[in-house]
Assembly symmetry: C2
Homo-oligomer: 372 residues x 2
């Protein structure tokens, strides 16, 4: 049985779902000769770790208990049991993790949403550990930090940073390793904006669609977090860097779906919903009409082409995979030497804790050959 030590960062929805998946896959993984041994868990405040990482692990009852405690909003600190677990707070927690990494190769799984983890995970990789990321932030910081993280690229997987569990990164890596040139990637990478664009196409006013999406829980609490395009831009940057483009967030042209004067620091959420949003309806309606008269539709997409990455509304053929998109699925079209006229298309749900955690778990298993 191959024994793979796991340390998890982040106990939000994705992290907890991952622990559930690990526990429910015990038999399946045992049949493949794999045992995932969870030896440590970080939340934003503490690092809970078994006293002896080389031989002990958190058992399944304990892991489910942690999920319960965290979903009740309590701290990991409350889980400490003498002889079974120890808790460390920052900055000791980071030092403890590095100490472990120097002695034991483990897989560090970043399911947090923190921009503070990059230093720790870079150290871990360079000490011989593997890293799996659902957290986009470490991949969207400076090029220098990115380069330092990717000194050992085979030890890193990050499928769930784009399109949740959709096999986008894995497929792009396959294309790249076969020496094929990728000319163009165009993708609808926000389920929320995919839903909004297909609803407005049906003639509904933009403001009403956004308010309905908010009511359905499809958007962030402040829908401007989606409408700004920043989340799509982060995913675009991750894909662009995967293709070898050396760029930062500042190199991406991002079209926000609301003007500067309606920014959160200028206009309250209440005011935006009550008065701001509807001022945007006419412009979107006119753009849809113009596109329609060309036989096209509008999609909010990320386009990577000619070393550039643009994020915003594009007019696309109705009959393309992106043009036919309805609802909240993510769609990515990849144009390369082998898929030149007709793209390689990957489509499916691109959000949700279950599929995100499933992508993380597949990444963990994918790294198994690096463990003895």
């Amino acid at each position: 049985m191959k024994n793979i030590p796991i340390i998890l960062m982040g106990c939000g929805g994705v992290g907890r779902q991952l622990l559930h998946h690990i526990v429910s896959c015990r038999t399946l993984h045992a049949n493949k000769g794999i045992h995932l041994r969870v030896v440590g868990i970080f939340d934003s405040k503490s690092f809970l770790v078994v006293p002896d990482v080389s031989s002990m692990e958190f058992n399944d009852t304990f892991l489910m208990n942690i999920c319960q405690i965290k979903s009740n909003g309590l701290s990991l600190q409350t889980c400490v049991e003498s002889g079974k677990s120890e808790a460390f707070s920052s900055p000791e927690s980071t030092k403890k993790l590095t100490d472990i990494a120097a002695r034991l190769a483990f897989t560090l799984v970043d399911c947090s949403a923190s921009s503070e983890t990059i230093g720790t995970i870079t150290q871990a990789v360079n000490l011989g550990c593997c890293v799996v990321l659902a957290n986009k932030k470490p991949l969207t910081s400076s090029m220098e930090e990115f380069d330092n993280l990717f000194l050992q690229p085979r030890r890193i997987r990050h499928e769930s940073t784009v399109g949740a569990g959709l096999p986008i990164i894995a497929s792009l890596n396959r294309i790249l390793s076969s020496g094929d040139t990728i000319y163009r990637i165009i993708g609808s990478l926000s389920g929320t904006l995919g839903y909004v664009m297909s609803e407005v196409e049906d003639g509904k006013p933009f403001s009403e669609v956004v308010k309905a999406a908010q009511a359905l829980g499809y958007t962030e609490p402040d829908p401007r977090d989606d409408l700004s395009g920043m989340d799509v831009a982060r995913k675009g940057l991750i894909l662009a860097r995967l293709l070898g483009h050396r760029m930062d967030m500042s190199s991406i042209k991002i079209e926000s779906l609301y003007p500067d004067k309606m920014r959160p620091n200028t206009m309250s959420l209440k005011d935006f919903l009550a008065n701001g949003l509807q001022l945007l309806d006419n412009d979107i309606e006119e753009r849809i009409k113009k596109a329609s008269s060309n036989g096209n539709v509008l999609r909010y997409v990320c386009v990577i082409e000619n070393s550039r990455c643009n994020v915003g509304i594009e007019e696309l053929p109705k009959e393309s995979a992106l043009g036919r998109l309805r609802g909240s699925d993510n769609v990515v079209e990849i144009y390369n030497r082998c898929y030149k006229e007709q793209p390689l298309v990957i489509q499916g749900a691109g959000a949700g804790n279950d599929t995100t955690a499933a992508g993380v778990l597949a990444d963990i298993l994918d790294l198994q050959d690096l463990f003895t």
Copy 2:
């Protein structure tokens, strides 16, 4: 630099394209710390191998020379150069391969179309080698032979056996290793039949579409090789076994698009094209009309569901990914826990030497962590 010895079986279009890709990717792979060292090549008659597999390799000029010689229809035997290569014929060739496998871990790449390779590749895997298959035959023989081959599943990749280079197998393996249950796979896995079904949908008679497809080189020389559904069934069996279903070709219900009385051993190709084909037009036309009256379209698909695999014409919703398929792309819809209502869809060209060889090369690179 990690040095991966390669032995290639099969010098047809895919094998030769693979050699071209390997040579053209030298710099790319070197930048990733990989060198693919081709030490032996089989054609149907001979095994050409370097005198010392642990230190020598066929250089790029020699590889391109082999491609030239094979595309001119000559034998590998004509490439023997004293001190640089030796040739063995069957049965010594198989013994030589096994001798090498016992001393050196290499990647054996089966780009042949032979049903005779399974014994050799099974021995190689069990001696510690890795195997990459574009050849479907070893995966569609008896369950017992399949089990023996897959005693070490991590050492085997076979992306290009279904949908050429499309990332179908890799994506299914990711889903399976995350413990997700796959309820249903439905796929249009023949570019030829995909083209035929979308053309007849436009109102063209079946017989004319098949004859046009033959004239365009889309079909096998005898189009009945496509219309029988056997090739789709082989791909279906590979997918079904991947999901863990223990079945043989005989367990698959296959709908042939021509009746028994028009089989190649009963009716000549000339007679089939001149007289047989047009007798099939009415039936297809009526089925299309019936489907259309339900708002559906007909597709020739493989369906894997409830431990069964069926291959034939199905009535599918016009607005599904399969229903919207036009032309010769392959499309696979995967329904599982994470993609339950809306499937995970993978679409793109599913045939061609370039994309098939690209899939093989990606598999070879994917196995790199098993080499030291």
